[in-house]
């Protein structure tokens, strides 16, 4: 495992243990709903389903179609805010 992914795992463990991961998830959910991201992707899902046909579409089809679009559509302000929160948390709980 590379140094990068090792650090990621450590940070993730710390966040999970202190319940911060859940809090950040809730915050992110709220922010993404507020800015319309969720509705945009919901509409895109419907388009994909229409295209592939309701009987034949799989969850994997949707994941492949939605994931890149979803990543791109996250507003910078949301990214910044989450990053700030994580930084602040780590600064507070540094070992």
């Amino acid at each position: 495992m590379s140094k990068d992914s090792k650090m990621r795992a450590t940070i993730n463990q710390k966040l999970t243990e202190m319940g911060e991961r859940e809090r950040l998830k809730e915050l992110l959910r709220a922010k993404l709903t507020e800015c319309g991201w969720r509705d945009q992707l919901k509409a895109h899902c419907k388009d994909v389903i229409k295209e592939k046909g309701l009987e034949h579409v799989t969850v994997e089809d949707l994941v492949v179609e939605i994931t890149p679009k979803g990543r791109v559509l996250v507003p910078d302000s949301v990214k910044k805010e989450l990053l700030q929160r994580i930084r602040a948390f780590l600064a507070q709980h540094a070992t």
Binding site: M1, S5, A9, N12, E17, G19, E22, E55, T58
Partner: protein
């Protein structure tokens, strides 16, 4: 992809599969922290302890990449990197669970499957986890029961609400100077929460006679949302109002504000059948804690702080209110001069053109500390003597629907007149500066918030305006109400016409109805 699950789960549904599945949900899907997980695992099954210390892929150690857990053994693998797929092929374990969302994947069908029994278990475990985390109930979409499906099949007529449909709009015949009543009826039938209460048939009448005003309101809502386009004649409502609020009887023009308060009072009294019951099934009889729909929607708490000027001790009382009556400039009550909020500044989206009074100005004046003067000394509990004091009103509890009453009718001993000063009011209102013990309310609204407040709990939207044209002696009431988020209509007794937002905001304004933008579960 079938909602009836797939045949491959049958191989899994043997022995103690239900309990095993529950353990997986409790420990790995819905659990909060690694510690909680460790504890649960130790409680349930020792076999899992060693391998299940943390949720990472057994092949590459990553925790992202859509981690899945095998249902037949203790193995975690990435979905994206296909590690779990390899495991499934090698061991012929056909089922895996997505640790992020709890979905069950079948490697033979190559898709997520939805088995009724497994879904049921998943839902139960999720609810349990939310309860443990202190989240309580979260919103979940409605799924009809068997009985409800039956009812829907037997009643096939459906009414579709499109953005242009006029359902909910209905004119009201004037029965002789009853425009004061018509306006309030328009405002009430367009109060979203009240509409939802009545249209979902939540009133259980316990009155023996036929004179229940709440039942009549229920009927009124049925009339308004029936789709009929001809005006409704509210003669039964008028008769009930005369019966229960004698002071409003007669064919003279009455005050719409007085009618609003009287109507809310009668509705509140007649709602006794709908008050919630406590755990023993006994009705909550406490008059201070009524939880009828009227109180739930309209009742707020007004905090009054009296500060002794000598010892600075504060004596606080909180009184319930259904509306806020605001004095206007040009009335004979003193204390109008107010420090301006700055020229050309915009607060709450109102334009502060020099001179124009705004609703926010009136609210600031309402919540400013008032020196009670030497002739009105209050007995101070700290000093044990009569001292001069200041009094300040602030909002302790904001109601879901806030009704502002601009005191345009002056009835002092000397004169009776109508104050026609224009007061500008906004479409969206933030009540944060006026709530009790906020820094802004202490500085009387002069403190400008530089950081955007994450708390949306104090934001309101305008949804109805009642206007009065004419003089005290002869006048006419009309109202504006809001449909479908941004469509406004003018209601002039039997005549309903489309109105622009500008028409609404330029109107004089007598009663202003605001609705909270965000509602929380209790």
């Amino acid at each position: 992809m079938s909602p009836a699950g797939c045949s491959h789960v049958n191989a899994y549904k043997v022995d103690n599969w239900r309990q095993n599945l529950r353990v997986i949900y409790q420990c790995f899907v819905w659990s909060g922290s690694a510690e909680a997980r460790r504890r649960k695992v130790l409680q349930n099954d020792v076999r899992w302890t060693a391998l299940a210390k943390s949720c990472i892929c057994h092949m590459c150690g990553a925790h992202l990449n859509r981690l899945h857990s095998c249902l037949s053994c203790v193995f975690f693998g990435c979905f994206t990197k296909k590690h779990i797929h390899e495991h499934a092929k090698n061991k012929r374990h056909n089922l895996a669970i997505d640790l992020l969302y709890g979905g069950i994947y079948c490697f033979v069908c190559q898709d997520y499957i939805y088995d009724k029994e497994m879904e049921q278990i998943a839902k139960e475990e999720q609810r349990k986890a939310w309860k443990l985390q202190g989240v309580g109930e979260k919103y979940s979409t409605w799924e009809p029961t068997k009985r409800e499906l039956e009812l829907l099949r037997h009643n096939p007529k459906r009414r579709k609400i499109t953005t242009n449909c006029t359902i909910g709009l209905r004119g009201l015949i004037n029965l002789g100077n009853t425009c004061f009543m018509n306006c309030i009826v328009q405002a009430l039938t367009h109060t979203p929460l009240l509409r939802d209460f009545f249209l979902s048939d939540r009133h259980k009448c316990e009155m023996q006679s036929n004179s229940c005003l709440v039942c009549e309101m229920s009927q009124l809502f049925q009339e308004f949302y029936s789709g009929h386009r001809w005006p409704h004649i509210p003669f039964r409502l008028l008769h009930l109002v005369w019966t229960h609020a004698r002071h409003l009887a007669g064919y003279e023009q009455q005050d719409a504000h007085e009618f609003l308060i009287a109507a809310l009072d009668v509705l509140h009294r007649h709602c006794k059948g709908d008050t919630t019951r406590d755990d023993n099934g006994k009705k909550a009889n406490n008059p201070n804690h009524c939880s009828c729909i009227i109180d739930q929607i309209f009742t707020g708490g007004l905090q009054s702080d009296v500060t002794c000027q000598v010892c600075h001790g504060v004596s606080t009382t909180i009184d319930p209110f259904w509306d806020i009556s605001l004095d206007l400039p040009g009335s004979s009550t003193p204390f109008w001069p107010l420090s301006p909020g700055g020229d050309g500044s915009t607060v709450n989206g109102e334009s502060h053109l020099s001179g124009a009074t705004t609703l926010t100005d009136c609210l600031r004046r309402f919540t400013r500390p008032e020196h009670l003067g030497s002739s009105a000394k209050i007995k101070c509990g700290g000093c044990h003597s009569y001292q001069e004091s200041t009094k300040q009103l602030t909002m302790k509890k904001l109601p879901i629907v806030a009704c502002f009453h601009l005191k345009r009718f002056e009835h002092s001993a000397k004169l009776r007149r109508k104050i026609t000063t224009y007061v500008s009011f906004p479409l969206e209102l933030d009540m944060t500066p006026f709530i009790a013990s906020s820094k802004e309310s202490r500085m009387n609204g002069q403190y400008q918030q530089t950081v955007e407040v994450l708390n949306n709990d104090n934001k309101y939207s305008l949804f109805a305006v009642v206007n009065h044209q004419g003089t005290l002696e002869s006048g006419h009431y009309t109202s504006f109400i809001r449909q479908h988020k941004d469509q406004w209509f003018k209601c002039d007794d039997a005549i309903i016409t489309k109105a622009s937002i500008k028409d609404v905001l330029d109107s004089e304004g007598y009663l202003l109805f605001y609705h909270k933008q965000f509602l929380e579960y209790e």
